[in-house]
């Protein structure tokens, strides 16, 4: 599908593909919004306004309903409008893969309590509500995915797979809990094991760590086998002439299934125990594995140009959208925070064309001026964002 077809589909207001859509959104005391509501059309909206008036905040609020955490890494209390007691975000949904019709999140600054409800029922565990609004946020800050430390790419991988696959989310949560326990046991030893028994508390959490870690590694490797060629193709289609490759620095090469992987991890954790005691932390395992991006065999992080790194970051987000789309069978919401600002019109048209190649879901675009809207998205309804107020154009 080329970009003009998408433009037509968007103009016609036809739902191009099975997708999750936000029908209405209400923010209360969120960032610079005192109270604001917006009704969305099926195809989405284009938010227009000067920087600092609340475009990014609105996208952040929508994204908050996906993970119940700020996409920008802000603490909940920093999302509360200055001087207010807490914030509240609620969205009416259509086409959620979890069948949710209404999702709400509230935070009270005094008690530091977060409340999340799905269809007006408060969830006891956040993980039960995560993923009701699958969304992918494209932002200029994404370049940190490429330029930043390995932890950035690991987080990208974990968040994406957790949203695509509930089994991954549960394994990740168990892994983190076991890791926290094992690390606490290691710290308690203060760098040296008095005797064999003092290592027992460390060893006791290794089976849980290995079992959950094995599920994570198996799923990561299955994803990478499919994602690596797709990533190269995407960059090629965007118009990057050099070859960038994506791979996992595998900590368990050659292990094919969960049980083989778990056995291998158990052996590894046991073998590393003495070393871990000296370091006071667990230094091997899925939490230390890397997503590697190589430019002609060299680390893109240090050897890529600004433009190459920017394209590589956008391609990672496209991979995220692709992964969610195929895993959930529904197109995720695309939140585009002026991501094409530094790209030429051809390149951004190609990116939108690729994003729409399997059918474009709902799009919420944020750009400063109407002329910044890429041609393919000119059919979107425009909404003026000014000092925390929202005014749709007629």
């Amino acid at each position: 599908m080329n970009s003009s077809v998408i433009a037509e589909a968007v103009r016609d207001g036809a739902p191009v593909v099975k997708s999750v859509r936000v029908q209405a959104l209400t923010l209360t005391s969120f960032r610079n919004y005192e109270r604001a509501s917006l009704t969305f059309r099926t195809e989405g909206a284009a938010l227009l306004g000067d920087n600092g008036h609340g475009k990014t905040n609105l996208l952040e609020a929508i994204y908050y309903l996906e993970l119940f955490r700020s996409a920008r890494g802000a603490r909940d209390r920093d999302l509360v409008r200055f001087g207010d007691a807490g914030f509240h975000v609620v969205a009416e949904l259509d086409g959620s893969p979890r069948g949710a019709l209404r999702i709400a999140a509230g935070y009270d600054a005094a008690t530091q309590k977060k409340k999340v409800s799905v269809d007006n029922v408060e969830v006891t565990r956040l993980s039960d509500a995560i993923g009701a609004v699958p969304a992918v946020l494209f932002s200029p800050a994404d370049v940190a995915l490429v330029r930043g430390a390995p932890a950035e790419r690991r987080r990208f991988l974990d968040v994406m797979l957790a949203l695509a696959d509930r089994g991954y989310l549960l394994a990740l949560q168990r892994y983190r809990q076991a890791l926290a326990q094992r690390n606490a046991a290691l710290r308690a030893l203060n760098g040296h094991a008095r005797d064999a028994e003092s290592l027992d508390a460390v060893a006791a959490f290794e089976p849980a760590l290995a079992d959950a870690g094995a599920i994570m590694l198996t799923k990561r490797h299955a994803w990478a086998a499919d994602a690596a060629p797709a990533y190269a193709d995407t960059l090629d289609a965007i118009g990057e002439r050099t070859s960038v490759s994506l791979s996992l620095k595998r900590s368990a090469a050659g292990k094919v299934d969960d049980s083989e992987m778990a056995a291998w991890l158990r052996t590894t954790f046991a073998a590393q125990r003495a070393h871990d005691v000296r370091r006071g932390t667990t230094h091997t395992g899925p939490h230390r594995d890397e997503v590697q991006l190589l430019l002609d065999g060299r680390d893109l992080r240090s050897f890529g140009s600004n433009g190459q790194q920017r394209s590589a970051a956008i391609a990672l987000r496209m991979l995220e959208a692709r992964t969610l789309h195929s895993a959930l069978g529904t197109a995720p919401l695309l939140l585009l925070d002026d991501p094409f600002a530094e790209l030429d019109a051809d390149r951004s048209a190609r990116i939108l064309g690729l994003l729409g190649s399997r059918g474009l879901g709902q799009v919420v675009l944020a750009v400063p001026r109407i002329e910044d809207i890429p041609r393919a998205l000119t059919g979107l309804q425009t909404v003026r964002v000014h000092q925390g107020t929202l005014r749709p154009d007629a």
Binding site: L170, Q181, R182, A184, D200, A201
Partner: protein, 196 residues
Amino acid sequence: MSAIDELASELARLPGIGRKTAMRLTYHLLKQPAAQCLRLADALVGLTERVRQCEVCYNLTEAPRCPICSDPRRDVTTICAVEEAADIGAIERAAEFRGVYHVLGGRISPLDGVGPGDLTIAALVSRVQRGAVTEVILATNPSMEGEATAIHLQRQLVPTGVRITRIARGLPVGGDLEYADSVTIAQALSARREMA
């Protein structure tokens, strides 16, 4: 500190009781006849003076040995290891188990500063080593910490040659599959059995 404040702050230390509830309870007690308050005070004194740990199984008791350990009809060849004394009550209500218990006094949780040495594991191992015991049932909670404790116990008990079993996990009877959480469902699935 006034007597009112003193009681309220002691009550507020209890689990699930906040500052407001503590004040409400304090004023409630003030409105009661003095005799009633004194009975509560006596009960608290009795609790601290009379209740101790069973010298065999660490269950809570007022005698050197708890009622279960002193009951000649109980099968002393089977020991059920639990985290807390309160767990014994839950198992006893099911009236299924005829063996004896061993209260570990918690579960391994380094994040809470609890290591294997803080539990009554050595006492359990020596109970088994003294002979007579043929099976130890590990009935720690199905949480990650309970599981880690069971794994550690297993390692400690293997050299004794005793049979070691773990209570099954799965769906609650009378529960609806639809409302069970995913972890429970996953465990119930992995522990599935053939229909005879």
